[in-house]
Symmetry: C2
Subunit: 393 residues, 2 copies
């Protein structure tokens, strides 16, 4: 039997809008066909969410055709029939003989399709930054007459400005994030194992909020004493103690749209140093949010926050945030001095005052926001404070 289509997350016109933006870049860069290999971009253009990107796959966009064609391992094709807006004949499942085969792999199926399209002698866009060099060698060897055009990050830049439909999902995701932060404030206690607290917070992120389930889990970072100077660890297998500080960075997810936030928790009374730095960082965060609006640059925001921190004698080396959307970070602009990207309405950012000051001391506070014409909409609503949790003593 054939696979039925699922209820679609976005209407067809939304995908056609995204494809039109991509085709406009193809025209500008002179690409007749484009092979999208970055799985987040494949998701953006089709609605495909299956986690099959650990093996070769691709989405081919042609200037000649309204719908693109997705080329997947055969066992992943039914997920594409189910999830994407694509017509049945726009989903190609390549055979299992291309798995674990040193001679041919899934990129050969993608190249076969590019040849069938008649694009082998034309100009073909590739996301070079998302292809391993052996795959690029294969494209060059098998398509010797094609002109290769680099499309690294091109679609990711298009993704930066969200539609209102995407913003609605970001709001739902942020509500889930908030629920996770509140759950954290209930379960982080002295004597509780970090893993047990993480279990409760992760379960909350999966259950979701307001009747809307989390649709997958994003990265989860819990950097607790003595590791508050680190930024990318999950929980440890130890228990929290009286006086533990916990830097938590989590995100709810709705159909790949991810709204991250971070908060700092202290079991018992925070140290004077933590209190002072956190207070300064709240001022820095407020200043960043007051600066953000359409027309300002990323650099403007970073400079304003930097000055506000300096007034409180706090230095911060790392950037003040980055755009977010599908699967957390969009690797495009950064809120840092010198980044002259101009903010536009419906860009979404994780404005991050994370500050890793010493090897063994860092403080985190952030918000997930939407840029508007006149300022920001703050998507995350969890209390903006240093959480002081009861100690056992």
């Amino acid at each position: 039997m054939t696979m039925n289509k699922a209820r679609q997350v976005f209407p067809r016109r939304e995908y056609l809008r995204r494809l039109a933006a991509v085709k406009s870049e193809m025209a500008r860069r002179g690409a007749d066909a484009l092979v999208v290999s970055f799985d987040r971009n494949m998701n953006y253009l089709t609605g495909y969410t299956a986690r099959s990107g650990y093996i070769p796959q691709g989405l081919v966009v042609s200037m000649q055709e309204e719908e693109p064609t997705i080329i997947l391992r055969k066992m992943d094709a039914p997920a594409a029939h189910h999830q994407t807006f694509l017509a049945r004949d726009r989903v190609i499942g390549y055979p299992e003989s291309l798995i674990g085969n040193p001679e041919k792999n899934g990129y050969d199926a993608v190249i076969d399709f590019v040849e069938e399209l008649g694009a082998a002698n034309l100009s073909v866009g590739l996301e070079l930054g998302n292809l391993p060099p052996p795959a690029l060698d294969k494209f060059r060897f098998r398509l010797p007459r094609a002109k290769i055009v680099d499309f690294t990050s091109v679609i990711t830049w298009i993704r930066m400005i969200k539609s209102d439909l995407e913003i609605a999902l970001m709001r739902e995701a942020a509500a889930i994030t908030d629920a996770g932060i509140l759950r954290a404030s209930d379960v982080i206690r002295s004597g509780v194992r970090e893993a047990d607290a993480a279990a409760e917070i992760l379960a909350t992120l999966a259950r979701g909020a307001n009747g809307k389930a989390g649709t997958s889990l994003a990265s989860f970072w819990m950097n607790s004493s003595p590791r508050t100077g680190t930024s990318h660890l999950t929980w440890s297998d130890e228990a929290f103690r009286d006086d533990s500080q916990i830097n938590l960075e989590i995100a709810g997810v709705r159909y790949t749209y991810t709204a991250p936030v971070s908060r700092t928790f202290s079991i018992g009374r925070p140290s004077d140093r933590l209190r002072r730095v956190h207070e300064a960082q709240i001022v820095g965060l407020d200043t960043a949010l007051e600066t953000i609006r359409a027309g300002r640059t990323c650099s403007d925001v970073a400079q304003a926050a930097h000055r506000a921190l300096a007034k409180h004698n706090v230095q911060k080396e790392s950037r003040y945030g980055y755009p977010v959307g599908i699967d957390w970070t969009e690797q495009t602009a950064s809120l840092m001095e010198g980044d002259m990207t101009v903010l536009e309405p419906n860009m979404t950012f994780h404005v991050h005052l994370g500050n890793w000051i010493d090897e063994d001391f860092g403080v985190m506070v952030s918000q997930c926001i939407r840029v508007t014409e006149s300022g920001v909409e703050v998507l995350t609503k969890a209390p903006l404070k240093l959480f002081e949790l009861p100690s056992a003593a």
Copy 2:
């Protein structure tokens, strides 16, 4: 203050053993220095688990030095001081000015270090399959006199044969997996939302088993009716129904060591077709496990399982499994016809009778095993059956 070392997961001699195996391959391939960029391999050689691989980083192994040197973004260096066996001067944090910078990035810091080592005119190993082409271009441009040697998958092949210390972690991970499967059999019920069941199972995987916490979460696949013909979806936002079939594939994790398993669940009485195919696949799985022992090939195992299925009129196109260890799949051998890799003691495999027969029908059953001289040790102990769960009706 400087960061203290955490309790080490493995003793120093274990890392030196792994490095000796890598250096032996370097000698064989004539590499004076090796840049490890695949994060799982960096973890294998140092104990570093932070999830910072979304930005450039590298581990440089030199034939002249006992310990390698890890080069990370400055904010990730404290995690390396904390987690790895490396001496303090073997951890280099590169400045934030290399983040979001179109001219220079973290690979420049790695190349600087290769130059300092005096290896710029020598032979340098790179994991080409784990570098984006622009990074490879940078290595070639900045090290024009170095001879580049491809080390793609070389360390992954070394990882295939585990030490007894690694096997101990695989057993602990498998016990967590089992707890997840049992939890699934308790919480998957008609009317329960998939997300709520997933939340409970995920929480179990984080809490762990036998007093040993899960140390992170692995991939989580729940392909339920009408999606049992798909293989790589997470949960949906729907509720289970009477007669739902659920194909669940999960894994417990201990310090990155991952023990996956899959089971099929039926709410209410399974269909005759599901029952018949599942029974055949159990026979196929048993046959595979009876065939596995040191000295046999991957192909032997696949052929035996294939014949056993054929006797029951079941065809399966996909491979019969793959090696597992750090972060689920090791991309090396496959249990498939024609793969002449010889099994050796302490290889660990996910022996997988997953079978996606129609677009809307598939069945999963598998075990996580260790190869021994005389056969297998089955690491996963969850009941090997088609789980029939009570229906509401």
